[in-house]
Amino acid sequence: MPSITVKNVKNYACRSVNLEINDKELLVILGPNGSGKTTLVNVIAGLVEYQGTVLFDGISVDRIPANKRGVGYLFQNLVLFPHLNVAANIAYSLRVKKWPQQRITEKVRELLKLVNIPHLASRYPKNLSGGEKQRVALARALAASPEVLLLDEPLSSLDAQTAKYLRTELKQIQRRLRITTIYVTHDLMEAINMADRMAVILDGSIEQVDEPEKLLFFPCNDRVSDFIGAPNILDCDYCKSTEQGVMEVGCRGLKLIVPHDGNVIHKIAILPRHIYVSENKPRGPGINGFIATITDIIFRTDTVRFCLEVSNNKLVAEIPYHIFEEMDLEKGKEVYIILRMRRIRVFENKNVSFDKANVY
């Protein structure tokens, strides 16, 4: 599988984009709507015009038309051919390449099995659910054994549960096939879960390319930090394993339980929208629950942000405006907060395993 180099690519949506995608890597391009991420993927696929250079394994593909670039493309709206049934959709690229019928049949059977839909071979797209369509589109993109796989927000039209399930499956398939993959999304959590590395694109420019944790904990500038939701980042003073897939960490007096089972935790991050805010004491065991004082209230378009002080830590929480309207909150007031355990991301010190340092 090739590595991909995008050098100084410019067009109506991209502004001098430079990007390296390693061989067999899953790179997520993360950006808001209209930031140029789909256009960048179309450039790599050869489906739009551009200035600059795209190289596969160091060889320019600028003059190679889309149908000969060896790229599998899973479109945002899937674009299954409505006049062909599932098997014929998957077989499309093989028929175009004039494979013998018997090999086509075998390959289609194999792909149907890979994406777990062998029973849907004769159905037409109009009779498929969103998740089934997504699987067919993936099988079709993989049919001609492409060297590069481009996935443009493939899960955006699915309900959260199906998307979560298919995300795991997509990642497994990518790992199994070891195919260089570019995955486009605007969803930070989806990006973090999928990526080997992430590239943040804003207004047609790549702002930062890094591993998910590094990007979350060390955004290179305010624009990136703002886009990823200005996470609260706390340094950890100590870290204790509870041996149940979770760890207890201390951050300047805050005792937190985080989902982690591995090396020593260096920092934790949580997005403002993942901090629960309540006027009354919430029911339940109170894990990661604290009393905080509101030091400032910032009104945004649809949301309200609170600057909070809790045990000498400064946190920012965010709630939707319509919920704020139902509450009676003001500066100086005390509120109950919960840092949602499953939403806390950890940055571990990869050089120090927990066996070597139980507490640091």
Partner: protein, 247 residues
């Protein structure tokens, strides 16, 4: 059922002499008898066959030309820009408006009604084909290209199949229209065919024969339209979201 009631009422009204008798409105039964006579003598069959052959030749040629040129215009921007002004200029001319010119150019022979049917079929099929081809979502074309299809493969395996519903709309509408035009052409200029038989019956004040001809015409319009509706359903109903199964 409504047709049976209509025919019964027709028979009763003609028989009870409410209107000025059999002269202006013969009873349905007499029309059926006349239909039998005309069929048995071969007059109806001969004239019907003349009209049918003209319709089939003109309609097939016009439709094929419309589909081919429409596909080229819908797919190729240069061809569209070059031909569109000419098509826009000629399309509004009513088909029957061509008769005087064609009589002088072609003369009064078999080619005259065939050419008229050709013109009548060509333009609507052409427009529907252009619309169908242009309306195919660009994403399907992008998807096909990314899957390795050449331009010609994209056209033949994706664009034309997806334009079929539009093309069939044109064919369905024009299949009936071809019969309306052939009758008019035969009434005006051609001595054989159902239209010519109509004119002869009118000069002999044979209302029963006129009604027989009109019934044949109505049935043929219906059969042609139904045939294309059936063909459309066969070819597209499996995959169309808005498929109509009970045409």
């Amino acid at each position: 059922m409504p047709v049976a009631i209509f025919l019964a009422l027709w028979e009763i009204i003609a028989r009870v002499d409410v209107l000025p008798g059999n002269f202006l409105l013969p009873p349905f039964s007499e029309v059926v008898v006349e239909f039998y006579h005309l069929s048995a003598s071969g007059v109806l069959g001969e004239n019907f066959l003349s009209s049918l052959i003209r319709v089939l030749i003109g309609f097939c040629a016009g439709s094929i030309a419309g589909i081919v040129i429409g596909t080229v215009m819908g797919w190729n921007k240069v061809a569209d820009r070059a031909l569109n002004p000419l098509i826009t200029l000629f399309y509004p001319i009513p088909t029957l408006g061509w008769i005087p010119l064609l009589m002088l150019w072609i003369g009064i022979n078999e080619m005259l009604p065939i050419t008229l049917i050709f013109i009548c079929s060509f333009f609507p099929v052409l427009y529907n084909t252009i619309t169908g081809i242009k309306n195919v979502d660009r994403d399907y074309i992008k998807a096909a290209r990314s899957l390795g299809a050449s331009d010609m493969k994209v056209l033949t395996t994706v664009v034309i199949p997806l334009a079929l519903p539009n093309i069939f709309t044109g064919l369905r509408l024009e299949a009936g229209m071809a019969w309306r035009v052939i009758i008019a052409a035969e009434m005006v200029a051609i001595p054989t065919g159902i239209g010519a038989l109509l004119m002869k019956a009118e000069s002999l004040i044979r209302i029963d024969i006129i009604i027989v001809c009109l019934i044949v015409l109505a049935i043929m319009c219906l059969i042609f339209e139904k045939f294309f509706a059936y063909l459309e359903a066969r070819m597209t109903a499996r995959w169309r979201q808005d498929a109509i199964h009970n045409r």
